[in-house]
Symmetry: C2
Subunit: 253 residues, 2 copies
């Protein structure tokens, strides 16, 4: 299946797709000219869906593309020298996966689907080339990477300084923010990851995650039904996380 074929087949929906997908972060904020949007669209390859548990790429494989999540969720993780999995991130629709592979030309993590997931593949060499011709695209790329760096640093603060309650609250509010940003409900959503995966990510035991969630439920901070989460008391949750008056900046995981 050639790229142009792929492109033409999806062409009619591309513009609307890009509105709230991968490229919203990459191009929309900078109002690319129509012509530029087209050029960007042309290098993007829509891939067939990944089923739950399938790999998008594996740690150690040659890096050649970054991927934008269109629907579903991915986790990235690496395997420590003791053979345990360490999750380094969850990726929701519109987010870019794989940026950490640029440096070594090899993915330093594996990426796996947590549910049925579709992605757009963006061959990095093409993207880089195109970014030379479209300065605002290049700038957006720098911004996306810079944002990732500061988000990861917030995550380091979380892991280093926060207790179990604060970690879980931060995690839930962070997800809430990410859903909200792309037009979904901020208060009510479904966790695509297991309690075990949350614990792994937050540096907590499964049992602790489960206990904290139960406790939050009992204190009427949230309402839980399996993987369905409803955040009931935002102010109290934010107090837990330590959000000052400026809610925006701090709660990024």
């Amino acid at each position: 299946m050639s790229m142009t074929h792929t492109h033409s087949r999806f062409n009619s929906t591309l513009t609307s797709q890009c509105q709230n997908c991968s490229l919203s972060a990459l191009c929309l904020p900078i109002a690319l000219a129509d012509e530029d949007i087209n050029r960007l669209d042309q290098i993007i390859e829509r891939k067939k869906p990944l089923k739950k548990g399938e790999f998008l790429f594996r740690q150690g494989e040659a890096f050649d593309s970054v991927y934008a999540v269109r629907s579903g969720t991915l986790k990235t993780f690496n395997i420590t020298s003791f053979g345990e999995e360490q999750i380094t991130g969850f990726y929701c629709p519109s987010e870019l996966v794989g940026l950490s592979g640029i440096d070594s030309n090899t993915y330093p993590v594996s990426a796996k689907a947590l549910e049925t997931t579709t992605v757009c593949e963006i061959p990095f060499s093409h993207l880089e080339e195109l970014s030379s011709q479209i300065p605002s695209l290049k700038h957006q790329l720098f911004k996306v990477m810079s944002r990732k760096i500061s988000d990861d640093q917030q995550m380091m603060v979380l892991l280093g300084k926060k207790n179990a309650d604060e970690k879980v609250a931060s995690f839930l509010l962070n997800l809430s923010n990410r859903f909200k940003k792309r037009g979904y409900s901020a208060s009510s959503f479904r966790l695509s990851m297991s309690r075990g995966e949350i614990g792994n990510y937050l540096g907590l035991a499964v049992e602790t995650v489960s206990r904290v969630i139960t406790r939050f439920q009992k204190s009427e901070l949230i309402h839980v039904d399996g993987k369905e989460i409803e955040i009931v008391d935002f102010p109290e949750m934010q107090k837990l996380v330590g959000v000052a008056s400026d809610c925006g900046k701090i709660s990024h995981i």
Copy 2:
């Protein structure tokens, strides 16, 4: 003091400076043409030294430059909503500080000198512009940012999964690697940060850092004299960190 003046004053030493400083990471691996090196040099401003405790920039200030450390050490940190300092990184000579400011056009962290420190200021707009003209420079920039992302993710693993011994061992070996990479001794170096700062960074109490270091000393893994550290038993230290056969990749903090 104009930029060109600054430039001409230091001109004779520039090439050799760049060999093992900031730009080694940025340009040397890609063998820029002489002409390109010159163009890069021209946008770089050597700043006068910072004394211990002075700020390079503060959280919230407008972002306009990234900085390459020439000598000395910096720490970056942010102030949590509870008023405590959280250190997010230490920066040794040749490393770039400030990349996390690109996204929001504001530094999300403060940077402070741990000792007398000199830096090269690289106005980001100039760098970005120049990177359009020199593709290999742009690629290096992407690489540096990508590397930062994967390093930070290793740090997340450390904070989330490792115990006190493993954290301190990782920290020391990471410093060792960084010194080695720029031609200093890998086994013997001076810590420019206090035990408190190490603990803050690693998510440990000062007392714990002190105890671990004492214990390492007693077990003949390292030799300590105040801030002077000598790593005596590399194999055993690496075993602690969980380095497999491939030492290179894992021990980046």
